[in-house]
Amino acid sequence: MHVTQLFKHWSYQVFAPGTLLRRKYEAFKSLLRHDAIALELIADLEEVFYGETMADRQRALYLAGKLSAAVNTMAGQLVEMNPTGYMELPEYFRKIDFYVRMAMELDQPEVGPPYILSLEDAASFPKLAGGKASNLGRAANMGGVPVPKGFVVTANAFNYYVDYNGLSDGIENCLRQMVVGDRDLLARLTLEVQEMILAGDVPEEIARGIRFAVSEIIDGDDLIAVRSSALAEDGEISFAGQYASELNVPPNDVLEAYKRVLAGKYCPRAISYRIANGLTDTDTAMAALVLPMVDADNAGVVYSKDPDCWGGNSIGIYGVRGLGEGLVDGSISPGKATLTRGDDPTIDTDCTPDMNGLPSEDTLVRLAKHAMTLEEEFGGPQDIEWAEDVTGKLFILQTRPLQRERKHAEHLSDPIGVKPWQEGMERAATGAGCGEVYYAPTGEKIARIPEGAVVITPTLKPALLTFVTKMSGVISTTGSRASHFASVARELGVPVLVGKLDGELEPGQLVTVDGSSGTIYDGCVEAILTRHRRDPDAPKVVQEPYKKVVPLTVKLNLTDPEADNFTPEGCRSMHDVVRFCHEKSVGEMFSLVDKRGRGMYASKRLNTELPLVMYLLDLGEGLFSGSKKNKLVTPQDIKSRPMWALWYGLADPRVKWPNKLTHMDWEEFDKVAGGIFSFDSKLLASYGLISDDYLHLMIRFGYHFSVVDSICGPDSMRNYVNFRFKGGGAGFDQRLLRLEFIRRVLERYGFETTTRGDMIDARYSRGSENDTRRLLARLGYLMAVTRLMDMRMDSEEMVAAEVERFIEDAENRDVRLEKEN
């Protein structure tokens, strides 16, 4: 906390409280804007963390950075709203922010030499030479396995190339936009990166090294091959066929071929493959293996343990005439020989359909022997590339672990043979669940959610959070993925769908909610449930790198504002800070104007037929501009959307207001004066702070007062209505009956309520503009109807009857409201 900020706060409080109100309001608006941004970012991040969106790690980093900035602003604005109240908050934010940055930090690419390694040295440095070159180097060092001369341009050389040409920022910028599955986007972005790489220059120290090394491995103008050897390639993950190789390259073109191999790192399918395996750009830095071209007579592959014959207990040799490319890309069907495994391999003629394209039997046996020694050296079955040149010399060009065939996961859109009850709902959280339909419109109902229910709710309100573990699924009329509830549901794998239901679901009816496709089915559809159990939405390798950062960013711990840990110190994640700031800022606005109405001096008196003394302070666009100069304004001057809606209900012509009774704070009146105050004294009046989409109203009706605080605008994420009602002139029991009446009505409308003594607090949030406006109109009507109600309530039965009557009347009125709009 800066002393100057504090001093400014205090001096404003004393000398210019109106300015302070405006500043508080501005801070509040900014906080809400960033709240919406932060919640969207949290949802985006969750999609990446939980593997719903497969994206580059750079994207997570970028989103986390943006989240941090938004949350920082929120914390700053909350301090601005109340400098003494949340002094420690920025400190705790900075702490969490640091932990996030620490957990998200990516390995810095190494850019120092060596840039060139001999094939023999490559064996010992897989982190420099990449998998392919390192494996081949190992084979060369074994002695006895015929490997051509060759050298490696290291992964550090690639990093240096990027650095030297100043490409890091450009590449990162592209990577963070990439999402696997969006083919057009990926094609555009990878092309952009490839162009950047190809336009670069090979740094002189690398170029010189390459030229010299080339002259060492070939004679004169012999052709060479430049092959990809990315880090992590040909290890546990094969990357088979993902990266390009350059064949038949004249020595003078070696640098261009090298650049093309580097650019090949960024082809769409290699990027998708890398991301789907949870690897970063740096994890797969591109080394290049340079070998002389073998003038091949035959070429092909050997599987040291061929799954095709003898239940995998044989060696399979596949081959074609000429270069082996046609074989690996599958365009030519190869000849094939099967040999027995063991020290003395022999050809098994039963399983050798076509020897066309294969070398002599003698060569086949030699190949099989090499395959067995390589298998022994590398400790597992090998997938080996070989070539025989025109002079009959045999070469091993590559060896890597043989990939066991993985069963492909069923595609999610496979038909399951059951007709959906409803399709195309918005997906707020994926997963699938089946359970009995349970309607939970009110707090009371929410508290009684049965185990395993599919909950149907009007909004995704935070009150649901407490019971989320009981739910098999959630269907909400409104709400979005960017809500606290959806976030927690995603974490727990509870499916959440949003949208209007076409028909009626019976309470107790069994339904299946499929969060991945946005579909509801009648009954329990076992096929969908098992698909989700067997095929969790994302592979572990994608989620693994984010394990540490999830609890620091998107996880919500502060679910209960009443709990002891709802403090800055209790914040453990960015999401906690977001929740804390939002909750507290609304609370700050709620207690905006004190009873004395300080800061309201610039306000205008509302001239109305209703016997109310009300002052309005325009915070911006709350009144039509024509009314600027007037000290008196009329309800027609109100431009503020929430104020207009509330006033519409409050001024309902069906409510009979006593003519002579001016509504003001009689309690205060009793206290301060024996009638010396005039009835329109500001001390006793009602106040409204309004702007285009904001309303803060403190209204005094005789012995009770109400506060309404609301945002109502096009962005439903920001909308809310908070309402407090307190006190009354009648006996305590009658006051409680009225309170009960109000509580029941508000709960019917989807408010969450809490009562303490003769005070009730009600809250509603994140509804659409139309819904929020309708609720405000009802609330206004409720305030008008109830202002003297305690005088006539005397039994529970009467309360119940009054609730029904009120709802009916209010609905009738609504029809007109809709027509007029």
Binding site: E88, K95, F98, M102, E105, E569
Partner: protein, 119 residues
Amino acid sequence: MANIIVVDDISDAGMLVKRILERKGHSVNAFTEEEDALNYTRSNSVDLAILDIKLKKMTGVEVLEELKKITPDLKAIMLTGYPTLETAREALRLGAQEYCVKPINKDELESKVAEVLGE
């Protein structure tokens, strides 16, 4: 229970950590002077060091390096009010298990210590 040393140039901060961890049954010695902590480690078997980064003569990272020379399998938690990615990287490279940022409350401290000691 573990033998723990705490090095913080502010005596009160060290004492606070000491009191919290002693209540968990650990034996804890708090030092404000780096030299004293190193001398203590030379003649006693220390399981865990909790080190502030800003110390009087050395940095906590340097103290960590020295401590590791004396007791290579000593575990360490860095605890600082002025975190930087550079010191975090360096401390983790030198073998610190955790890098924590002040303000730290009782729960967080207890759970980090338990985690590092493998309890």
